[in-house]
């Protein structure tokens, strides 16, 4: 029977060593990546590394909880010989991390109790827990469970509820006014509300139809034919850019200008 336990212990320790070696390798490559490739590193790949480590720690936990694993608490490690001399075999075994098996390394490497600070904190927490009494503790547990389940529900039932709420909120605060759009487009396109003959004064925005100005010269809105446009007809000729005959275009004034110029007053008669 003792042999069986010994064999179990040995097997458990072997698999534990191999798992821990995996974690060590993963940590090693992760640290290397962080130190040397940090410019190219992206957050998803960092998350992948963390996920890998967490998975490996999970396997170790499962291994320890396994029923075939004997309880390690019953085993005690006692150092039989401590020497301040450098031990080459140990150094090679531990990849030069533990070159000397001496009094300094024993408290760190053979520790079974938690650190003093951690122990202090745990004691405080257990005192606190004992103080509030079981009913209050139970109520707190229930509140926490309810909050967590609410949150999970909200996160798991996304689209319909969220969209209904957010669209209702957004409809209350429109971010644009079509009348303003028309006013601005009118101002840019043909100077609605901007004509220089208009007396300066407050104009209510988005009110179309200020009424054509009767004073001053003609504006864009009134298509009038100014006097003395004959001499301007010549200017209209060279001033007119290309595109006659574009398909589907509304007729523009350029053709008429050209016609009038070549018809009447061409200065260079052939």
């Amino acid at each position: 029977m003792q042999q069986r336990e010994e064999k179990q212990l040995e097997a458990a320790v072997e698999s534990l060593i191999s798992r821990v070696a995996h974690v060590k390798n993963a940590l090693h490559s992760f640290i290397y990546k962080l130190e040397n490739e940090y410019e190219r590193l992206t957050w998803p790949s960092v998350l992948d590394n963390f996920a890998l480590l967490s998975g490996q720690l999970n396997t170790i936990n499962k291994l320890l909880k396994n029923e075939k694993t004997p309880s390690f608490r019953n085993q005690v490690i006692i150092p039989l010989l401590l020497s301040p001399d450098r031990d080459e075999d140990l150094a090679k075994l531990t990849e030069l991390r533990v070159p000397v098996f001496s009094h300094e390394i024993v408290p760190d490497y053979l520790r079974t109790k938690p650190d003093p600070e951690v122990e202090e904190q745990e004691k405080q927490l257990s005192v606190e827990a004992a103080r509030i009494g079981p009913e209050v503790a139970q109520k707190q547990i229930q509140t926490l469970n309810k909050l967590c389940s609410n949150l999970l529900e909200k996160l798991n039932n996304p689209r319909d509820d969220r969209d209904a709420e957010s669209s209702a909120i957004r409809q209350n605060k429109p971010s644009f006014n079509p009348a303003d759009t028309n006013a601005l487009v009118g101002a840019v396109a043909f100077g609605k509300g901007l004509s220089k003959c208009r007396p300066p004064g407050p104009v209510a925005p988005g009110h179309p139809g200020q009424g054509p100005m009767m004073s001053g010269g003609p504006t864009l809105q009134q298509v009038t034919i100014g006097g003395g446009s004959n001499q301007q007809a010549v200017m209209g000729g060279p001033g007119a850019p290309q595109q006659p005959g574009q398909p589907g275009k509304m007729p523009s004034s350029i053709k008429t200008n050209i016609k009038s110029a070549s018809g009447s007053m061409h200065p260079y008669n052939r």
């Binding site: 971010s175 006014n177 759009t181 601005l184 487009v185 179309p208 574009q246 275009k249």
Partner: protein, 214 residues
Amino acid sequence: MEAPQVTVMPVTGGTINMMEYLLQGSVFDQALESLLHRLRGLCDNMEPETFTDHELVYLLKGQQGNPFILRARRSLSHPTSPWHLRYLGQPEVGDKSRHALVRNCVDVAASHSLPEFLNEMGFRMDHEFVANGHIFRKGAMKIVVSKLSRILVPGNTENTERLSLSFLVELSVLAPAGQDTMSEDMRSFAEQLKPLVHLEKIDPSKQSASFMGT
């Protein structure tokens, strides 16, 4: 000695006909910040550019028909840059299903003597305004968010008054004539700005018709 016969017509025009595809909308002042954030995320990654421009619109009145319009623009934030002269044609009425307003567009740069030159040519300034705001780019698309101000004293660009409490948002693309693929891209971009801004094709001639009716 005879000059050799000219067998090939000389090249008279050098430019490709460029068409401007345009979608317009507006946004309130309060919603401007969120719109700028969204545009900064959607558009090409560059330093946000602001501009202050002074635009003058010149008219040449013919004997009949609509007057000929030229738009002269100069930058108030870069006073030494050349002036920009632009001609915009009538919107093409071909395809009702086309999502953007399409019109012919000719752009040239000009020196600082442009206003006097236009006056000498016979153009008269019809109106002017100051536009300042932000400009974003995404590929070939240009998005301009600007607030328009009326100039109270002609020629004085310091003394201005805002035209409305909204910012004008324009999405435009300059493309050679005949290339109609841009309007789909523009429409999908406009979808991404909803419901903050509704960019749509607003025909200015329809606007003026309703205006003259009142």
